[in-house]
Structures are given as C-alpha cells and as structure tokens.
C-alpha cells in the first residue's frame, strides 16, 4: 500500500472513535442485514400482532390465536436490514491541487468506507473522472491497492441520475464543488428514492483566501486554461466574496433537497476539520 494512502487510512480510523456517518438519522430499509429496520421483516425477534390482510404470507398466521378466537391474526417480526452506502469520489485534478487537499480527500473516502465495512453495509464506490462516473471496486481500497489519480476536469454535467443508487441508501459525494453547474440534478440524484445525500467538500485555505498578489498567470489545474491577472487587494476581496457566494448557493440548494453539505478544511486533523462544519450540519454524528 502506498505509504501516504496508508497514513490517510490510519488517520481516518482514528477519527472513527469520535465521529461517524449519520446512520442513526436514517430510516434504513432494504435487504437482509444485521441492522434493525423500522419496518417489519423476517427476523426471529417478535414485534407485534396485527389483523390478517389478504395477501399476507400464511406462514406468519398465528394459528394458536386463530384457535382461540376464530380470527386470523398475523405475527409481526422485526426487520433486519443492511445499510447501503454509495460513495462518489470526485477525482478531478483540483482535488489533488496540493498534497494536503489530496490527503484530506483520501481521509474522507476512508472515513466513509471504513464505517461502511464496519457496519456491514453494501458499499458501492464510484469515481468521477472527466465527467465520467466509473464504478470502482471497494475491495481495492480494503486491500490497500488503490492509488488515487487526480486528473481531468468537470467537462459535461454529472448525470448521477444514470447511476443506480441503492434505494433508501446513504449517498455520499466527495468533491470540492469548484465547478459551474446546475446543482439541482446532482442533489436530486443524491436524494432520490429515499436516499440520504451527504456532500463532503474538502477545501484549502488558499482557495478561501488567496495570499498571492501581483501580476499572475492563473492556470486552471484541470483545464490548463491560463489567464493573465493582476491580483490586487480589491480583486482578492471580490474573489473571496464570489467564493463565499458560490458555497452559500450550494448550501442553500443542499438544504432545499435535504442534503447535508459539509465543508472540510485540509488543514489540521480530520476530526477537527469534521467537527468544524460537518457535525453542525449533520453530515456526521458523535460516535457515542
């Protein structure tokens, strides 16, 4: 395993004792698993009786009660479900602009994957590269053979609707969101069919407030597009305002769709970074 990735995985594990994904806030449904569902299921734990309705499975008719009362009643058992987590990782070049940002992105990815594995959840991992969504085998992450490749840009729209997200699952999108697109299709995909959308947005301090000034040739790390720019204090101030407006707009859209959008700084420890914003918006919850 790449040492750097291994270190990121180790740091993400350390944070698991304090924070975890918001499993409690989700009503889990779906396939057979080890998690107790809110509905009725086929577990051996008895929950309640109810009146027989035509079409019910006759195997669950309480024949002793029928013998006593002459009415059909059904035994209702607890449902045991298996959480389903879909993770989409933005692998564009901007995610690896600096080593800190790349590390934080990998830490977030492992933070999510480790919990999925721990919970026995069905984990599906997608990589977003140059507008294409590629299904990635999570076993590579588990085995430590995965190597992040930060390349490409956000050409074209993300057609998450074409993805077969698990119904009622948790859908996590890890991206810096530094692109121009209509957020509605993306957020709609994340929350469709009972999905719980979570967006982890790693960012750098220099993206929030650039420290450089003077005559610059700004080079877009994704498209390679260049722009001669004399960066003055006033221009930097305008950029900061644009930046804040951009993410305020994303947060507003996410709130409308019931998604949790958490910005995670690349500085400091992962726990600290998650505590700053993710905990407040409900993207993570306390582990105890």
């Amino acid at each position: 395993m790449n040492d750097r990735v291994a270190q990121c995985r180790e740091r993400s594990r350390e944070s698991l004792s304090l924070l975890r994904l918001p499993f409690r806030s989700q009503t889990w449904q779906g396939g057979q698993g080890v998690w107790q569902g809110k509905g009725t299921g086929s577990a051996i734990d008895f929950r309640d009786h109810r009146v027989y309705v035509p079409g019910d499975d006759p195997r669950h008719i309480n024949w002793q009660a029928y013998a006593r009362t002459g009415h059909y009643s059904m035994k209702v058992f607890e449902e045991e479900v298996q959480p389903q987590i879909d993770i989409v990782l933005d692998c564009s070049a901007s995610m690896g602009l600096t080593q800190e940002k790349a590390d934080r992105t990998v830490e977030l990815l492992y933070f999510c994957c480790e919990q999925a594995w721990e919970a026995g959840a069905i984990l599906r991992l997608y990589h977003l590269k140059s507008g294409e969504v590629i299904l990635q085998d999570p076993a590579e992450l588990l085995a430590g053979s995965w190597q992040p490749e930060w390349q490409g840009d956000h050409e074209g729209d993300f057609h998450f609707s074409r993805l077969s997200f698990s119904p009622n699952g948790m859908r996590i999108f890890i991206s810096d969101l530094l692109f121009e697109m209509d957020a509605n299709p993306l957020l709609s995909s994340l929350t469709a069919v009972g999905g719980k959308g979570i967006l982890f947005v790693p960012y750098l301090a220099e993206e929030v407030s650039p420290a450089w000034s003077g005559n610059l040739e700004l080079v877009d790390c994704e498209s390679g597009e260049k722009r001669k720019q004399r960066v003055t204090d006033a221009l930097s101030q305008n950029y900061r305002r644009n930046y804040q407006n951009h993410f305020q707009w994303w947060k507003d859209r996410a709130r409308q769709f019931g998604c949790h959008l958490a910005r995670v700084g690349a500085d400091g420890q992962l726990v600290t970074a998650l505590r700053d914003d993710a905990l407040a918006v409900g993207a993570v919850e306390m582990a105890v």
Binding site: W212, D220, R227, Q229
Partner: protein, 374 residues
C-alpha cells in the same frame, strides 16, 4: 513670488528623466508568474480590465507609482536648488584673472568659466555688481559695472601676457572691494594658495608645448648669424614644424624632433641686406612662444649738448669723448641729451646740478631731471 524664483542648478532638471524610468519600471515590473489554482471561473466573474491587454493596461494607478513619481519630483526640486531673490539684495561678484602668459593657452576655458559662473550668479540678487580684475600690476583690462554682457565683452578682449608675478596684491584688492555679500573668484592655471574668502577655479591642464626660449645674434666672418633655442615643455616627444619668415613671407618648413624636456638649437644667418627676420613654430595651444622676432643689433648713438662751461664743462666734454657711440651735437634740434649746471652750486640747499634728458621728437619741457653729484 515666481518672478523672484530662479534655479541655482538648472541641470537638476535632468532628474526628470526619472519619471519615464519609474513608468518603465511599472510597465515592466513583475512579469506574470504562473499560479496553479483549482478553478478559474470564480476569477472570471471579475471585470475584464484585469485580463491581458495592451502595455498601457499594465500601468495601473497605485500608491507605489504615485509615491515614486512624487519622490522624483521632489528630487528634481531639490537638485534644481530653487532660490528666491530678495527685492533689495545686492551682490558683488569679482573675477580675478591670472594674467600670466600661460593663461593664454586657457583663454577659452577662462571665458567659458566666467560666462558660466556669471550666468549662475546673474539671478542670485536683484542687483549684481560685476568686477573683472586681472592680476598684473597695472590692473588694466578690467571691468566694473552691472551689465553682464559688457563684462563678457571686456573679457573677450582680455589677453594675458605677463610673466611670473605675485597674485596676492590683486586678490587683496578684490577682498577689500567685495564687501560683506561679495564673491571673489580667482581663475588661474597655477597651483596657488589663496587667502580666505577667495574661491579658486583652476582652468589649467598639462599641455604639449614647444616654444622659443632664447636667441642670440652675432657676427661671424662678416655675416650676421642667429641661434635660437627651442624647448619641449611637454611630457612626451614631439615633432614640430618650424620656419623662418622674411618680410611676412614664410620660408621653407623644417621639422624638429624633441624629446620630453629636451632643448634644441636652431641656427641660421641673415640674408644679405636683411635686418630682421621672424622665427615661427607650428601652432600649439600656447601661442605666445611660437613666434620669435630677430633683428641684427644696432648700437645706439646719443647726441649730447654740453651747455656747461668751466671745469665742469671740460670734464663733461672729456667724459663724453671717452664714451663710445656718444657724440656732441652741434645744434639743439639734433640733441638727444643736454647737460646743464644749476647756477646754485652743489649744496643741498641750492639747486643741484642736473642732467636733462630730452626726447628726440618731443619739446624740451618733457624732461627728466636727475640729481648728479660731481
């Protein structure tokens, strides 16, 4: 206020060249350095004035630019040395010129120095009193007045021809004249320690000068010959043309080679019937010693009239006969020298005996009277 303003150092205006320099620096400062960023679209929302444009677009109004321009203007102002002339101000400017013949080589420099300095001082006071004072004993060729143009006109006629002499008397005269608010400027090519209060402007420089330093005319074998000494005063060997001029006509040109400091002897003879010739050297910066007139020496003959009788008259007659080239004149018109005896004897309280010299073409009242003790 502006009328009384003048700039003591107009050359300071050259510092205005700093303005285009500052602008050029701001034009070409900070070549755009590449900066890798996550995305451009947040920058592209900014106004297009920041985009790459013409060179003028790169010159932006900024505090450093304006401060640097202000600093240049301030520097120009300081270098110009602005002065305000008071209404009743008066200044005496005295130029004392070294009258040594060597200054002839630096006449142009002297004139340009005075011209420059006088222009500089012309506006420093409401009334400027100019004085031009050569250092030679007679002190002639001077000027005293308030017109700078007249000063320069007199200076253009100035011709230094004096030999070695002391500059101190002229400088002391200048110091006494300059007054409390005067300037005394001594222009010389000599290394001379001036008294306090005198500003010295040195105009001299080493020259490659070759000149006549002496001559001798003598008769030999019935022919008058001449010998002329020429010296190279410079620090390097020189080759110089020389010739003889006879009745204003130039003779054949010969060439003389002299090492540094070396003297050479030129010899020749006077042609038959010629009493005077002129030696000439090719012109160099010091022209005074480039020409040397030569004449065959003639003995002077004095005509003497003895109007003294008695023993004194006899004595004078015997004395006159013993002197060569002196002969007794017969008439008063041809007399060069007349001897008279005072009728009052030889005592001091009486009129002394006199020898009265009379100029040949002058009336008798132009006489010089000398006491003679017999």
């Amino acid at each position: 206020m502006l009328e009384s303003l003048y700039f003591a150092n107009p050359w300071g205006a050259l510092a205005l060249l700093g303005i285009p320099v500052v602008l050029a620096i701001h034009f070409f400062q900070q070549p755009a350095r590449p900066q890798l960023i996550s995305t451009l679209f947040l920058w592209q929302r900014e106004s297009p004035e920041s985009l790459r444009g013409s060179a003028w677009d790169r010159l932006r109004s900024s505090w450093p630019l304006w401060l640097q321009l202000l600093m240049v203007l301030l520097l120009v102002w300081l270098l110009l040395e602005p002065r305000w002339v008071q209404q009743w101000s008066r200044l005496n400017v005295i130029f004392v010129l070294d009258s040594s013949a060597s200054m002839d080589a630096f006449r142009k420099e002297t004139i340009s120095t005075v011209d420059r300095l006088s222009r500089q001082f012309d506006n420093t006071a409401n009334d400027v009193n100019w004085m031009l004072m050569p250092t030679h004993v007679s002190g002639g060729d001077g000027y005293h007045g308030e017109e700078r143009i007249e000063l320069m006109a007199v200076l253009n006629q100035w011709q230094p021809t004096e030999g070695r002499h002391d500059f101190l008397p002229a400088l002391e005269r200048g110091l006494m004249t300059q007054g409390r608010h005067g300037l005394l400027i001594f222009i010389t090519d000599h290394d001379y320690v001036v008294p306090a209060g005198v500003s010295t402007y040195a105009v001299g420089r080493p020259l490659s000068n070759v000149g006549f330093t002496g001559a001798r005319c003598f008769e030999s074998d019935g022919t008058w010959k001449w010998e002329v000494l020429v010296r190279n005063f410079g620090d390097a060997e020189v080759e110089r043309d020389w010739w003889v001029e006879l009745n204003g006509e130039q003779g054949p040109v010969a060439t003389l080679n002299l090492a540094a400091g070396q003297s050479g002897l030129l010899t020749g003879f006077f042609p038959e019937g010629v009493q005077k010739i002129s030696m000439a050297l090719a012109q160099d910066e010091l022209q005074l010693d480039n020409r040397f007139p030569l004449v065959i020496p003639q003995q002077a003959r004095i005509r003497l009239a003895v109007k003294t009788g008695g023993k004194t008259g006899q004595f004078i007659n015997r004395l006159t006969e013993a002197l060569p080239y002196v002969r007794l004149a017969s008439t008063d018109d041809q007399v060069d020298l007349v001897t008279l005896v005072s009728p009052f004897g030889f005592r001091s309280e009486d009129a002394p005996a006199e020898v009265v010299f009379r100029s040949k073409d002058k009336p008798l009242n132009k006489v010089v009277t000398l006491p003679v003790l017999v």
